[in-house]
């Protein structure tokens, strides 16, 4: 019997997977002998969502851009008629492992370790996870290995924290393990706050048990009894699937008391975040779990000594834990074979922005930015020019096209002034203004600063004010120098990562795109034609149908034109409110 699999991650759902699922479910009810229905998480090809896969005898056919109508066609022709509809196939895998389909370039260069089960198994079924080799690592770690043995293996694999800082995981575990004390905690940081990053969401939605298993192994290694997963509230589906996974794991004896009959006890609680970016910082995260305002605490003492509730704590992020079971089962060497000398293994990247194929890609460390953007990402949308890639979110920076041969690893990226971060990669094209980009991130960090350190609280606001006036064409000659000064002061005098890295977006854009700042300040020109105060609005005569909507919505009567004739904007009268752009149903209004 054939199996119909619908991708139901948040990205699939927002592209319309719910309607597709309902259609398919209805068809399966009518033809129960022809196919069975299953859901799965994100396979990574977000740009082709909604995705529907047909599985039969080891062959996988994944259809892209499925609408309810297309789903019906697939059902009639493929499920009932056994005919593969080649024109809709995004990716296929034959029983002998030969790949095919239009998305070969996206899928083939990938090496899936963290995403090994994402988009393959039903995330709400423990049985499927076990069938795919799940909980083997935990069984091995609890049954046959000593805590020291586990830590040695993680150390030998070269795994480094995937949250951004890249601290060696095995070493971190050994610190928590060494600390005496009967109560210790294992914490999983699932507060993926960086705008532009969605790796952890996909893992939690697509393979929640992998994270739980990684935490069980860690608990055994450091001797912890309790664990917490701190997940952000903006991910309701991830929280739901984690809750299901926890219950199933407890029932099956993979979690709770006497796990696998080995006498080892460990249980996990989910804590839901309440919307504060700074809680991604580990000491702030502990404060939030404790029910307080999520403000960072001074280190040392480090969490391995005094973490959650002043007890020894090990904190890693979602992706780090998801790597652990694979390393235990396949061996440290198998993992260390991937990547570069100092950055071993693979890394999941979230490709988004102006890239043609946006989605999740897991590649060996050391892959170049160029390969990620052009080979996997397929280049830039609408044939525009690649300008830069933003890495590391508000703590990171923009790496210009000239440096696109930089390998992505923990050593090379910081040399550009950006940071590795958690893996968000937002690709920018020539229509993005870099000053406005810096303003955007400062606006974010300024709002999210918890207010504890003066330089972060007030300094970021001063930087934002300067950037705002530059983007309005009101910049002053000394502004660039002022920005540099403020940046250094904020970096020096902030307690936690948020403040220490907040000026990075400004520093990297100043370094590589200083001329754009100069153009805004001295010539009152936005080279990317993006800053509204510095551009004029026009109507594309080829697209305008003369519906008069823009003219009706214009608050200052700056738009002239008769019905069914091309409209014209009077830029003398225009106040640049953008209402014409938002009211046009034909995308005819543009800025220049």
């Amino acid at each position: 019997m054939k199996k119909l699999v619908v991708g139901m991650g948040t990205c699939g759902l927002s592209a319309g997977a719910r309607q597709v699922y309902e259609k398919v479910a209805e068809l399966v009810r009518l033809h129960p002998d022809d196919a069975e229905l299953q859901i799965t998480g994100c396979i990574g090809m977000c740009y082709r969502e909604p995705l529907v896969e047909v599985r039969e005898g080891g062959r996988r056919i994944i259809y892209g851009d499925v609408t309810p109508e297309r789903a019906e066609e697939i059902f009639t022709r493929h499920i009932i008629g056994s005919e593969v509809i080649d024109e809709y196939v995004a990716y296929r895998l034959d029983p002998d492992g030969t790949p095919g389909g239009t998305e070969l370039e996206f899928m083939v260069p990938q090496q899936r370790i963290v995403l090994r089960n994402c988009g393959t198994i039903d995330p709400e079924s423990l049985a499927e996870y076990e069938e795919a080799g799940g909980y083997q690592g935990a069984r091995q770690a609890l049954g046959e290995m000593t805590p020291e043995g586990i830590i040695e293996q993680i150390k030998a694999s070269g795994l480094r924290g995937r949250g951004g800082a890249g601290f060696p995981t095995g070493l971190k575990w050994s610190f928590a393990a060494k600390n005496p004390g009967t109560i210790k905690y294992v914490v999983c940081n699932a507060d993926e706050g960086d705008p532009g990053a969605f790796m952890d969401r996909s893992v939690l939605e697509g393979d929640p048990h992998a994270v739980l298993e990684g935490m069980v192994i860690c608990a055994r290694a450091i001797g912890a009894r309790y664990g917490y997963i701190y997940c952000r509230a903006e991910y309701p589906l991830a929280i739901k699937r984690l809750t299901i996974a926890l219950e199933a794991a407890r029932k099956r004896g993979c979690l709770g008391e006497d796990i696998f009959g080995t006498g080892f006890d460990f249980d996990i609680k989910i804590k839901q975040g309440a919307g504060a970016f700074v809680c991604g910082e580990e000491t702030a995260l502990f404060a939030s779990i404790e029910g307080e305002r999520g403000m960072p605490r001074i280190r040392p003492p480090f969490p391995a000594e005094k973490g959650l509730w002043q007890k020894p704590t090990n904190n890693n992020n979602v992706e780090t834990y998801a790597n652990v079971p694979w390393i235990i089962v396949q061996g440290a060497q198998a993992y260390a074979d991937y990547g570069t000398e100092k950055s071993r293994g693979t890394k999941v990247f979230a490709l988004a922005g102006k890239v043609l194929r946006g989605g999740l890609a897991e590649v060996p460390m050391g892959t170049t930015i160029h390969d990620l953007v052009y080979k996997i990402g397929g280049g830039i949308k609408e044939g525009r020019e690649f300008k830069a890639v933003q890495m590391g979110g508000p703590s990171g920076g923009c790496i210009p096209r000239e440096l696109s041969d930089t390998p992505v690893d923990f050593e090379s990226i910081p040399q550009t002034g950006a940071i590795m971060g958690s893996g968000g990669m937002v690709v920018l094209d020539d229509s993005t203004c870099m000053v406005e980009m810096a303003r955007f991130f400062l606006d974010f960090t300024q709002k999210e600063s918890c207010g504890k350190c003066t330089f972060c609280r007030i300094g970021t606001l001063r930087m934002l004010e300067i950037l705002e006036r530059i983007t309005k064409g009101e910049g002053q000659a000394e502004d660039v120098e002022r920005l540099g000064q403020l940046a250094n002061q904020i970096k020096e005098a902030s307690l936690c990562g948020l403040g220490q890295t907040a000026p990075n977006p400004v520093l990297t854009t100043l370094k590589y795109y200083g001329h754009e700042y100069e153009a805004h300040i001295h010539e009152h020109v936005c080279p990317a034609k993006s800053c509204e105060a510095l551009v004029d609005f026009f109507i594309d005569a080829d697209k305008c149908v003369g519906c008069t909507l823009c003219a009706k919505n214009c608050p200052v009567d700056a738009i002239a034109g008769k019905p069914k004739e091309v409209h014209i904007i009077d830029n003398e009268k225009c106040v640049k409110c953008s209402r014409c752009i938002t009211s046009c149903n034909y995308g005819a209004v543009y800025k220049n």
Binding site: T10, C11, L13, S14, A15, C46, Y47, E49, E192, G193, D194, P195, G196, A197, F198, R201, E234, P236, I239, K240, I270, K271, Q272, G273, A274, G275, A276, S288, I289, E290, G291, E292, R293, G294, A350, L351, A352, G353, K354, G358, G359, Q390, G393, G424, V426, L428, T432, M437, F440, F441, F444, E448, C450, S578, R579, I581, T582, S583, N585, G587
Partner: protein
């Protein structure tokens, strides 16, 4: 939201002094009332013995908590990096214009509240917005207006039918 099934009163009753319960209590209060009213802070303070001022401090720290009632439908436009470079501003402008409110406000009829959020994690489908618990991707100005108008129409139909039958509008 889906993961917290236990009602506020039950949670409060069940509270046994275990540390770290304040935020979950506030979350269930917000689930129950739609926001955190003054009296909920008082209840929580009485049960947990945490001073009201401390609770207020926690509420105002986290962006999820609201001290004012929200509209029946909550619009959250994503302004993450990917959405920002793919037209989030156009989306925000459109929603503001369509609803006649600014970010953070509620429409006069109490139907819609508009927020922006830092990132919904659907970056490949930018620009994105969430209407209640549903995420909508690859939006255009026209699509947003259509979506909001569909909600408006549905509401208009629901409120006129009971009114015609002489039943008072139950929505407080």
């Amino acid at each position: 939201m889906a993961a917290r099934a236990e009602p506020f009163a039950y949670r409060l009753w069940r509270y046994d002094g275990a540390p770290g319960e304040l935020i979950p209590l506030l979350q269930s209060a917000q689930d129950h009332f739609g926001y955190i009213p003054r009296r909920a802070i008082k209840y929580i303070s009485e049960v947990t013995r945490i001073p009201e001022s401390t609770i207020y401090g926690v509420i105002t720290f986290y962006s999820q908590f609201r001290l004012q009632p929200m509209g029946k439908h909550v619009v959250r436009v994503c302004d993450g990096t990917a959405c920002h470079v793919s037209g989030a501003k156009m989306l925000i402008d459109t929603v503001q214009d369509e609803l006649g409110i600014e970010v953070g406000d509620t429409t006069e009829d109490g139907l819609f509240t508009l927020f922006t959020v830092a990132c919904l994690g659907c970056c490949s489908l930018a620009p994105v917005m969430m209407l209640n618990d549903e995420t909508h991707g690859r939006l255009t100005a026209a699509a947003v207006r259509k979506l909001l108008r569909a909600y408006r129409r549905r509401e208009a139909q629901q409120t006129t039918v009971p009114a015609a039958a002489g039943v008072p509008d139950s929505r407080g």
